[in-house]
Every structure is written in C-alpha cells, then in structure tokens.
Amino acid sequence: MEMDMKMRMNTNAGVNVSMSMNMNMDTNVDVNMNISDDLFLPLDESEKDSEFIAIESRSFIADAARRFSRNKLAMAGFIVLSAVVLLAIFGPVFSHYTFDGQDPSSRNSGSSLAHWFGTDKFGRDIFVRLLYGARISLMVGFVSAGINMAVGIAYGGISGYLGGKADMLMMRVVDIIYAIPSLLYVILIMLALGSNIRSILIGICISSWVSMARIVRSEILKLKTLEFSTAAFVIGASKARILFRHLLINALGPIIVTLTFMIPQAIFTEAFLSFVGVGISAPFASWGTLVQDARAFIDIYPMQVVYPVLAICVTIFSLNFIGDGLSDALNPKSRR
C-alpha cells in the first residue's frame, strides 16, 4: 500500500548509480549533478495501481464450461446425446406411425423409405418404437439419477458433516444396503409392485443412492476440516448454512461427475430388466424390451436386435464421454 513510489523511485536509484560511477572513474562531470530531491514527487494516490488484477474474472462454472467446450470427445458426446434427447421428445410427434400400431401386411420388413429401420413381427415401425423406447430409457436414467442425487446428497452430506456416532450409524445402513445384490431388490420390487416405470424407478433408486451418499460423505469429511468452514462457523453461520451453502457447493465437481455415470447405469439396469422380462410390459417399449422381442429372430432378422443395441451403446458412450469431460473440466488440478 505504502510502497508505491516504484516508478519514480526506480529512476532515482538509476541516477544515483550513474552519479557514483562518475565519481569513481573520475571522468568528465556535470552530467547529472544538478539533480535534487525536489525534482521527485511521490506518486499520487490515484496513479497507484498495485492492487490491479489483469486477468479477466471468471466464475467456477464459466471456467469449467470453457474447459469442457475445448474437449472434443466430450463435446461430441454432448451433441449426440442432445440429438438423442431431442429425437426422443419430438421424433414420435412428426411420425404418422405409433408405437403400438400394427400392420399385418408388412411384418418383419427390412429398411425402406416407409419404415426406416423396418418393422417387427407385428408390423410395428421399429424406428418409432426406438424413439418411444428412448423416452422411457432416458426418463428412467435421468429421473433415477435425480432422485439418487437428492437422497445421496442429503444423506451423505448430513452423515459426513455430523460425523461421530451419527455418521457411524448412517454408514452402517449404507453398508447393509450395499451388501445385498441390488438386482435382488429390483426384481422383488418389480414382482411386488408390478411391471411399470414407477416400480422400475423405485427398484433402481432404493439401492443406487448409496454410492452418491458415499461420495458426498467423503467429500464433506475432507471439506469440513478446511479453514473456510471454521470461518463460516466463526461468523455465526448455522450448521445447515455451512453444509449447504459452503461445503456442498465445493463438492459440486464430484457430485456432477458421479451423476453423469449414474445415468448410464440406470439405463443399463432398465434395459437389463426389460430384457430379462420383468421390465416394461407390452405394448410399451424400452430399448431392453426391443432387444428381448427381437431375440427370437436373431438368426433371421439380426438388424432388429442391432438397432436397439446400437441406441443403447451410442447413448451410454456419449454419457461416459460427457462424464469424463466434466470430471476433467470440474477438477482444476487436471488442468494443463
């Protein structure tokens, strides 16, 4: 603050050096001898600029978005996924076929202008059924990830922040849920509550929130020892305020990354259940039921299996690329 006479001080020092050199070497004089102190003025307050910051200010999210957009693979995944989502939402609207409209005159037809991906054994248009399947698969993926996130953040956050005995008890509950194979729950719930989307969501969510809870807990355990959480306590912030406004906002990176890996997991589970036969029931379609329906004719009409499998692959690939990209973008330590 007070040391900002730098510019003119420097000049002053330079002159001093040249003066002493003149004296030492005893060469010709009167170069700078008439310089006196009153030629120098301290820098005016308004001219001082020592606290200036040159770098452009960026928020954490803006910074992460910039890094994410530079990641080609992640951006490709993002574009493909957006296309899949848009197609799933708007595709069926513009098609004159419906997911359950049967046409006995053209069963098991191949690709044509009328039916882009051909028809199945009842003459239903496979492309439209794929889009309807995408609606269900993506909805299961996103909704269950959302529920997992809410439950996992609340549970893991509270467990990690309280610590001690409460944490011990809450984590043992998590261990118990974790110890029982999740497919067991899911199949039992499907049998008890019937084959519909609601019971699939309940089945997936009842066990998979624990991994989010664990991640959030370990992040909170780490963050709560940092000084800014003590600082928040000292200025009088309540426990809830510290946890939700200070700690969780800093755990956002790992939470978002876990989330993007949870979506493909849920899509996978749903597809598997439908394939095994306990998922969505006919005439509704998900990608899993499409594969299941076509399985019997795999030798004769292999393409009927290939389309839904391809849809699953492309979606999960793009989700994984997005997840990788986000984890790079949100973790500044990986910044090159």
Binding site: E2, I53, S238, L252
Partner: protein
C-alpha cells in the same frame, strides 16, 4: 435451567442494547481453561488424553493485544479456538464482556459471535473458493442481519477500501488474488460485523516477509481506529514483541509465563521462555557470534498421556525434586506476571533470598 437461560438472554440483550461492560474490566477473561482431546489407540486400552490446553487463565483488555508464542504443537491455536468456543472446552470458564460463554448454546452465542471474530492462518484455505469476494465479506452481515440488504454492497466496498483493496474487486473470486491480498479479504470479512475481539491465528506465517509487515500495519491501524482487542497467536518472536502489549508463552499446553511484553522479553523467568528467546536469530552477526545459545538436551515429550510432572522437566537445566512429581501451578510474581515453575514458588524464592543466591535469571 429456565431462569438461567432467561438470565443469559437478559444479559445478552442488555449487552446488545448498550454494549455495556460487565463488572470485570477486562473485555475477555479466561479462567482455568482446559481442552483435552481423547486419543483412542484401540477400543480396549484405557482412554488416553492429549492435553492440548491445560488450565490456562488470561485476560484481554479493550484495545489491547495479547501475544501468544510457543513452538509448533504447543496448543496455541487450540487455545484460540477454545476461547472462541469453536472447540468446546473440557474445563474452565470464558467470560466476554463479563458474561460467561461456556455452556451457552449456539443460539445463545449468536449475539456474541458477532463481536468476536477470527483471522486464519492459511489465506488459501480460509476463503470459500466458490464465493466472490463480495459474497464472502457480505455473508457475516447477512447472517447477523446488520444493514439493510441494499446497503450491504456499499459497506463491502468500504471494507475493501479499508484493507487497501479496490471496490471493483467485489465480483472477483479468491483464486485471482495473491496470498497477502487474500489475507486482507479475510480481515475485511472479520471486520464486517465490527467485532471487539479478534483472535489472529498465525495471520502472517503463511505470507512472505514484505507482506507480513503490510498485514501487521493494517492490524495496528484497525486497532488504533476502532479500539479492537487482539489475541495474536504466532511463532515469530520479533513480530509478537512488536505488536503485543502483553504476552503469554506456551509449552505443551501450559502457559509457562504470562506478563507484560517488556518484562517477558527483557527478563524472562521461566527456563523455557529463556530458551525460546535465546533461540531467536540476532540480526547483527557480531552480536550473534558473541552470544552463547543454550541448546537443550532431551526430546520434546509426547503430549499424549504426559507424565505427572512439569512438561518441561525432561529438558530443563534447573530441575528440582518436585518438578517430576506434579504439575506446577501458576505462581504470581511481585512484578505482576505469572510463571508456571516451581523455581518461582514463594518457598523457593524465599530460600534463594535467605542463602543470598541470585535468581536463575541472573545466571545466564
């Protein structure tokens, strides 16, 4: 229970309304404060305790700076945190404006939280990286509902100017600042609630020397202008001497010597204080060569499950029989300071006087 709560509530209200001082003239008074941490090696072994802070008493007056020095791990920071009730003390009492803080719930503490603040050691860890500077400094005012919301931003800019930053830094993030600038942001946050008492927990040890002076000058300026009191924790002896009015020397959780800064630095009594001060580097090489530095023998004992005697007895050159038997109490000296050493008990001092032996201070 209810009457007690009401009493505290009343006291808090009068305090809020008038800012009235209690009977005790000291702004902050600490009596026999202890903080033990439970250390568990295994579930079956008997519990062990780490005595981080052991029966410490001190007081801080208005516009006064109390310096706390001691080597790493001696419990300086724990003392500061126990005083601010960040760590609930194991024993002892803390009075602020004459009102006892120990045993208050967080809700009852709220009006006091506003008046006692803390500056942290690590300016890189003490600011929430996701908040802008404006949010960070504004938050205490939001929590304590201090100004009308519309005025808070203007107040933040005043505080930024006060600590020598620019008002337009308000929208920037902590990672865009240097260590010294960040520490000044932390100080601005601390000042947002206009506290009477600030614990400075090694506020300069993470900064380089030129910036250290900047921060110290700022702290002194704030004290001159607002009359705030500091508990200044540091291990830089010359800096503590510069800023403090009184000083406490800590060793393994004990306050071994406590008194005015000129006395403690000028004529240290406790053997540890003398050791500590003789280890301070001397800036003049001629004088440094002439000075004999006494290097202690023996190891720093583990603070976990420490033996019954004086914690310094394994390294002390003036050991007495009673030193290994029990922990010494605080002995008040004629000049007003307290020393936790058997050499300065009434009996030992009288003995020395009777035999015409000089105090150990004289035999350096």
């Amino acid at each position: 229970m209810n009457t007690a709560t009401a009493e505290v509530q009343n006291a808090a209200e009068t305090f809020e309304a008038t800012g009235a001082r209690g009977e005790a003239d000291a702004l902050f008074r600490v009596e026999g404060l202890s903080k033990f941490f439970e250390v568990q090696k295994s579930g079956f072994a008997p519990k062990k305790y780490l005595k981080a802070v052991d029966r410490i008493s001190l007081s801080v007056g208005k516009a006064e700076t109390l310096g706390i020095v001691g080597e790493s791990g001696c419990g300086k920071s724990t003392l500061g945190r126990a005083i601010l009730q960040i760590h609930k003390p194991t024993a002892g009492k803390v009075f602020f404006h004459g009102i006892e803080l120990t045993g208050l719930s967080e809700k009852q503490m709220a009006p006091f939280r506003r008046r006692m603040q803390m500056i942290f050691q690590d300016p890189y860890a003490s600011l929430n990286p996701r908040y802008t500077v404006g949010d960070i400094i504004e938050e205490p005012m939001v929590i304590h509902k201090l100004y009308p919301p519309a005025e808070r931003r203007r107040r933040v800019q005043e505080l930024l100017l006060l600590v020598g930053l620019k008002p337009d830094h308000i929208r920037r993030y902590p990672h865009e600042f240097s260590g010294g600038q960040r520490q000044r942001i932390g100080i601005a946050r601390t000042l947002a609630t206009e506290p009477d008492f600030i614990v400075c927990d090694e506020p300069i040890s993470a900064l380089d020397v030129s910036i250290q002076a900047q921060i110290i000058n700022l702290l002194e300026k704030i004290q001159r202008e607002s009359g705030v009191s500091y508990l200044f924790i540091a291990h830089d002896l010359s800096m503590v001497r510069h800023i403090s009015h009184r000083i406490g020397v800590m060793y393994l959780g004990s306050m071994v010597e406590y008194g005015p800064v000129e006395l403690v630095y000028g004529a240290p009594l406790h053997p540890y204080t003398r050791l500590l001060l003789s280890s301070e580097p001397i800036a003049d090489p001629k004088r440094a060569r002439a000075t004999h530095v006494h290097i202690p023998e023996g190891e720093l004992p583990s603070p976990i499950d420490a033996p019954p005697g004086c914690p310094f007895c394994s390294r002390c050159a003036y050991i007495l029989p009673e030193c290994t038997a029990s922990r010494p109490p605080d002995y008040r000296q004629p000049d007003g300071r307290t020393v936790r050493c058997y050499q300065y008990s009434q009996r030992r001092r009288q003995q020395r006087r009777a035999f015409g032996v000089a105090d150990i201070t004289a035999t350096q």
